[in-house]
């Protein structure tokens, strides 16, 4: 009698011991699935209405990573030193000679800078981005090498034409 009672208590204890962990695991698993679903389900709206207010700044693609996001006095220190000799652009940036060229967006394509003003608190939330700038061309800079048709960014600009062939029926 007492033996079976102890066994029962032990079982109940075991159950209690196991339960929270199981529950936690279950919740974690469930939560994970839920989170994943939500993040896949969340959408980012591109507010086209902002197109009218978008500015048209000068844009440069630099051959270095700058560990900064935010304002910089580009027009004071960078653009005045750009030299344009017979369509060969060069500039000295941090003591390095950069050689650049202008590149146009492919026909039928427009360059946009999308900006998210209010960062979503979690990845479940739907987000919005506005069009802060519009451009049709930008300047890309190589470190020392002369810009040519083999440059990655020049080749990348052929992608839209190919993509349309691949996709449009």
């Amino acid at each position: 009698m007492s033996r079976s009672l102890w066994l029962m208590i032990a079982r109940v204890k075991l159950l209690f011991f196991l339960l929270p962990e199981r529950l936690l695991r279950f919740c974690l698993a469930f939560g994970f699935i839920l989170l994943r679903m939500c993040s896949n389900a969340s959408v980012i709206t591109v507010q086209l209405g902002s197109l009218g207010q978008a500015d048209k700044p000068q844009i440069h693609l630099l051959p270095c990573e700058i560990e900064h996001d935010g304002p910089a006095e580009v027009s004071r220190y960078f653009t005045p030193t750009v030299k344009d000799h017979k369509n060969e652009m060069s500039v000295s940036f941090r003591g390095r000679g950069l050689k650049g060229a202008e590149i146009n967006c492919p026909q039928g394509y427009t360059g946009l800078v999308l900006k998210e003003d209010n960062k979503a608190a979690s990845d479940q939330e739907d987000r919005t981005v506005r069009i802060s700038s519009v451009f049709h061309r930008f300047t890309y800079w190589n470190l020392e090498t002369k810009p040519n048709s083999d440059d990655g960014v020049v080749m990348a600009m052929t992608w839209p034409a190919l993509a349309e062939a691949v996709s449009v029926c």
Binding site: S39, N40, A41, E65, G108, G111, M155, S167, C169
Partner: protein
């Protein structure tokens, strides 16, 4: 490289530079009909990738990132650290519907589209049914039956193959119009473009186009398409490539415009030089071994076939840390 300075991870990112198709940013007809960036299952890899529905879901666009190491932007009077350039280009929604059609094809029944295109992980996929192309061209990959005003569909392998073949033909045409080099050298990314010699054979174009299209379909379909195009499967790259590479290097003089010594190996891989001076010819030997290593690096996986472009465009998905989830850059 031990001397390389460690870069802090780029965690904060709220700006993206994109080149978008004009049709994608046309003013919506309805006030709340703005384009939507969403995640859909990539029809080739099956993982979440970034796409965009145009205004009122009329068209589907894919988002690909052109990403070179060590690049940043100056946008007006600001610095933008993330040097990626995103491309928003139209994509046929049928590529995305095919996996769903094929999944239920085993049942062999005609079904309503709404019954087939269901995905718990990607609920937005039902928006695909609103696309204009879906309604117009679903008959190209499936048999159609109309009962009591409702359309029922069943996947058709033969129709799909014909449809894909037309895509290949169209891509071949586009490739011929562009000056993209489609020869074998492309596969190693260290190729030399010789503009005056456009003697790539038809098979090179076909294979290249097949490679491009294979990025939009499952591996099984890609293999079936290869058979349908009557292209023999490529020999294992280990057997096929090294001799052809060697020949390329020794037969044709390598043309280089600038001093090799200025480049480190990664620079060289990306920017193939054009002309060659006497001093550089002596470096050709070093070059050859380098190419061998490159081919060895790229060859073992069949995946190389799926990256036929000399430059890289990444799917914007959460599986690569180069382009994390929904534009959220978590550093590289």
């Amino acid at each position: 490289m031990s001397h390389k300075k460690k870069r802090s991870p780029n965690t904060h990112n709220d700006t993206w530079v994109v080149v978008a198709a004009d049709s994608a940013v046309e003013a919506p007809r309805r006030k709340d009909g703005d384009p939507l960036l969403v995640q859909l299952r990539n029809p080739c890899t099956g993982v979440a990738s970034l796409y965009m529905f145009g205004s009122d879901d009329a068209h589907l666009y894919e988002v690909k990132a052109f990403n070179e190491d060590c690049h940043s932007w100056f946008i007006g009077q600001t610095v933008h650290r993330d040097g990626r350039l995103l491309y928003i280009t139209p994509v046929d929604p049928l590529y995305h519907l095919l996996p769903y059609l094929i999944k239920v094809a085993k049942e062999g029944k005609f079904q309503l589209l709404q019954q087939m295109v269901i995905d718990e992980d990607f609920p937005v996929c039902s928006r695909l049914l609103n696309c204009k192309e879906t309604k117009a061209s679903l008959g190209l990959v499936a048999e159609e039956k109309e009962v009591a005003g409702q359309k029922f569909y069943r996947y058709s392998q033969e129709k799909t193959m014909e449809w894909l073949k037309k895509k290949v033909d169209k891509t071949v045409k586009a490739l011929k119009n562009s000056n993209i080099s489609v020869g074998g050298g492309v596969k190693s990314t260290t190729y030399i473009r010789v503009n005056q010699e456009c003697d790539f054979c038809e098979e090179d174009y076909l294979r290249y186009a097949h490679g491009l299209i294979s990025e939009y379909i499952s591996e099984d379909l890609s293999k079936d398409l290869l058979k349908h195009l009557q292209l023999p499967e490529v020999l294992s790259p280990n057997e096929a490539e090294p001799p052809s590479k060697k020949r390329k290097v020794s037969d044709k003089p390598v043309e280089a415009g600038e001093d090799y010594t200025k480049f480190n190996s990664t620079d060289f891989a990306r920017k193939p030089p054009k002309k060659m001076t006497a001093a550089q010819k002596s470096l050709a030997k070093v070059d050859k071994t380098g190419m061998k290593i490159m081919s060895a690096f790229f060859s073992p996986k069949a995946k190389t076939e799926k990256l036929p472009l000399g430059w890289q465009l990444w799917e914007v998905s959460d599986s690569t840390n180069a382009s994390p989830q929904l534009l959220q850059s978590q550093g590289s």
